[in-house]
Symmetry: C2
Subunit: 277 residues, 2 copies
């Protein structure tokens, strides 16, 4: 198997992918995007720090590392194009990059992946590069959803799928049949963060958690770049929102550090469950 070329943005996903790929016996070369990768996990992998404005050097680095497959993942904040390091190819591509960035993260990521594909690399998904991260079916820890939770899960998945078909978002919070919050551009953590500010009669409390977070792949999304992700932080945020647990679409969502997620869910008394829709 050839080396995996991992173009890493911010957040916990790139590290988890790199570790899972290495654990499966594969060589990994990391291109750490300057400004997006802010911690030092890349030190434990062969790597190079490069700017998103240096596609020529990115391609050269990946080629030099013997990578044939490439995966871009993690959060890439909109670059400050006027401050960004540019190589010759970057100067040429800059107008298209700026146009892509204006359409949001997803478009910018697809643009960068497209450059690699044009250079002959094969773009792979997280599920292909690190299948161990893909959420399976069943509960992750020791806590299982009750009957009320299962009813809320069914409602929440129905909402999320309808929203996904409209390209709105990946997540929703439902409590006793009432839709408390729907995720649009703000992201899952911000959505969970506003639940405690709702009227107490509608939601759970620290003493009596109620309601579920469900996440599923948008039908308009590409599983290569956009799978919903859950990690230890998500479990903590769901707990802070006084929820009973988290439901994920099995096979189409990712769990970062399954053991840690299961342990945190057990410690906080939440369920985390993968379900086939």
């Amino acid at each position: 198997m050839t080396a995996l070329g991992l173009i890493a943005g911010g957040g916990a996903l790139p590290r988890a992918v790199a570790q899972a790929a290495r654990a499966s016996g594969r060589d990994v070369f990391v291109v750490a995007l300057i400004g997006s990768v802010t911690d030092d996990w890349v030190q434990s992998f062969p790597h190079e720090y490069l700017s998103p404005g240096e596609p020529g050097r990115v391609i050269k680095a990946l080629t030099g590392a013997g990578a044939r497959e490439v995966l871009l993942c993690g959060r890439v904040d909109r670059p400050r194009f006027n401050e960004m390091k540019l190589d010759a190819k970057g100067v040429l591509l800059l107008p298209r990059a700026i146009a892509a960035a204006k359409q949001g993260d997803d478009a910018l990521l697809r643009f960068i992946v497209g450059i690699c594909e044009d250079a002959g690399f094969t773009a792979v998904s997280v599920a292909q590069a690190a299948p161990a991260l893909v959420c399976g079916e069943g509960v992750l820890g020791k806590v299982s959803p009750g009957d009320d939770d299962r009813a809320d899960i069914a409602t929440a998945f129905r909402i999320v799928r309808a929203l996904g078909a409209l390209d709105v978002g990946q997540g929703a919070v439902v409590c006793d049949g009432l839709v408390l919050a729907v995720e649009a551009a703000e992201g899952t953590d911000a959505m969970l963060g506003r639940v405690p500010s709702l009227r107490e009669s509608l939601r759970g409390t620290a003493a009596k958690p109620r309601g579920v977070l469900a996440k599923a792949l948008k039908s308009t999304q590409d599983a290569k770049t956009d799978m919903p992700v859950v990690g230890v932080e998500t479990v903590r945020n769901a707990h802070a929102a006084h929820l009973s647990g988290i439901a994920l679409e099995a096979g189409k969502s990712l769990v970062l550090d399954r053991a840690a997620v299961a342990a945190e869910a057990d410690r906080l008394g939440l369920f985390v469950i993968g379900m086939t829709l």
Copy 2:
């Protein structure tokens, strides 16, 4: 025409209804719900302050005022049942009131209206009691939506209708085709309040407003109690969210103080438009 019996909760709607009904030549008697009505507008109408726990006295007051039609509107916070004044009928009905309150505002309001109907009153809608408040077709002020805005309005109404069919919410914010925020239990103002915290590339700015708020009646809602409402505050909040304007479902939403809304929209450069869906 008999007097209108207005059971008033909090917020700006009850006052607007009372004033519009009086302006149309009708007598109005106000039952101001203790704990919900916090300003003194009721002083300019015949009125009585009563607790939601005193349905016997509410019915007696309405009867004494010669009201045959009754309208409950405004925000009714979940009462603290253990601190609430109760009359004999209230004691009898308390268990059902508590059960209704647990299902949220709407259920509690419907419960109170139901008690009045059981006592022989006719429940009327805001549109019936104060037709002047119903949003018509066309722009309210001098600003009209541009082509980009019209595309966003169409998307936003599509989202809101889909959400409404799922009983999720009444509102959505769309900017350049991207759904920035969807209203669930938090309400329109809270939804607008989080737009400025989104990444700047996705939304409007003070210098260049973009995007629209659309509101429409949920298909699961009863037009008698639940029409979407827009007032001067909504215009200010939409402006603070750097939006271009607001679109409402004509005939099925309410505008509080049309002249003030139009003036504020003109002053801030936003459009407010009623459209038939």
